[in-house]
Amino acid sequence: METKKNNNPVHHAAACAAGILLVWACSAQPAFSFYDPNTGRWLSRDRLEDPTQPSYGLLANDPNNDVDYLGQVSLKQIKGLITDSVTGSADAIFNFLQNHPPTPREISALNKLLPPLKRKAAGIFDVNTSTMTWRDIIFDWFFELGNTPFEFKDKDKTTEDLKKHEGVNDARDLAKKRCAEGKPETEKTWRYGVDQFYQSLSSADSIAIALGSYSVSVKASSDCCQFEFSVLNDSGWESATRFRKAATPGGTHQGIIPDRARNTPGIQLGGTMKEHWTWKETCDKDKKENSQ
């Protein structure tokens, strides 16, 4: 299966809906086996299991990594079903939009209705980079609020969150390692693939949901004790509706809706927004000297 990439909130909503529907549909089934949640194992054999196969045949004989929650299908199969339902729906929407593009008259009529809506949104969602939350980033993108590029500095709310995120932690570790090898510059991209997508849903990872994939650059000082971080992200329709197909090598993803710059012709919603975070981190020199 291709790795699917995703960036923003639109398809997350669709995926959530598909996931909820699937879980609801599955939970409506009667229990097929006795399941021990403490061990993640089944106490009895699955009645639907092929008796000629090993006990954990359905789980590719790997019960520890591929838990059979429902006694019928494996986690991988559930993920596959959700992914297929989301991509299938996305494909249908894509084909519909390709065959039924809105006419200039329809776009114009819709755009005339948007200013009052945007005025309301501007009163609700924060555009101050010091106090903005991840939710504000999503809605500022959608309603085209604030000033792009958004420049976030040290101590800003989202900067403090981002410092602890997996992608930044990975980049920090790599930068320290590379600096010790005499390489002061590090580039690391945190990819929002299928696994990250499920993780972000289950752990309510608002950073991943708001940003999707993002790139981190780190510049280290000569003594490897000061690190300058720079995180870049672009929020747009392409990445928000990208669950349809994974990127081809060197090519672009094929989202359901193409990117559109703010204030360009088309429906005046979701024009591409750019975000940039910068901050510095200094190591504890005493600790560093003691450890040497």
């Binding site: 991209t189 999707g212 870049l232 672009d234 747009g236 990445s239 672009t252 204030n263 012709p265």
Partner: protein, 173 residues
């Protein structure tokens, strides 16, 4: 039969009323900043060297800001994209002009194709706060959101073929 037709007509009338009400609400929501800081503010912009708003542009009052843009740009040629005028407590606080080169670049980390853009900001806060001008160039995967001087931004815009009337006079000196 006749009853059904009447009901259909009533339905159409209701939709018409709804659309008219929404359109009126859209007009009624205007804050009144548009005449003051829209085209009416162009002489002040000229004095400061900020790009003025062309008379054929569309202006939208969104309350906390005013959006100004060309309704029919030639999207394949370098052009001035838009101006956003920010308001604080009803007074002008900042304006941002965006320019597009007409070409795009590929950004591998996010696997996106992005437009080559330059944005120039002017902050109306008192001069004691420092340089009111700020510019960013987003030109290639290696030069994402690069802060540039206003002079450098204007030099790049000139290489794109944009005229002084598009770019503005810039800061004095």
């Amino acid at each position: 039969m006749e009853g059904n037709m009447r009901q259909g007509q009533k339905g159409k009338l209701a939709v018409g009323y709804l659309l008219t009400t929404l359109l009126l609400l859209g007009c009624w929501g205007s804050t009144g900043a548009l005449p003051k800081y829209g085209l009416g503010y162009n002489p002040q912009r000229e004095k400061l060297g900020i790009p003025t708003i062309p008379t054929n542009w569309t202006l939208q009052d969104i309350g906390k800001f005013i959006d100004c843009f060309d309704p029919n740009p030639n999207q394949k040629a370098p052009h001035r994209l838009a101006k956003r005028i920010f308001l604080e407590n009803g007074a002008i606080s900042r304006e941002v002009d965006t320019f597009y080169s007409g070409t795009n670049f590929y950004y591998p980390p996010e696997r996106l194709t992005l437009p080559q853009e330059i944005s120039i900001q002017y902050d109306y806060a008192p001069a004691s706060k420092g340089n009111p001008w700020k510019a960013y160039a987003d030109l290639s995967a290696d030069e994402r959101l690069k802060p540039v001087s206003i002079g450098e931004a204007r030099r790049i815009l000139a290489t794109w073929g944009l005229r002084k009337s598009d770019v503005g006079g810039g800061p004095p000196g």
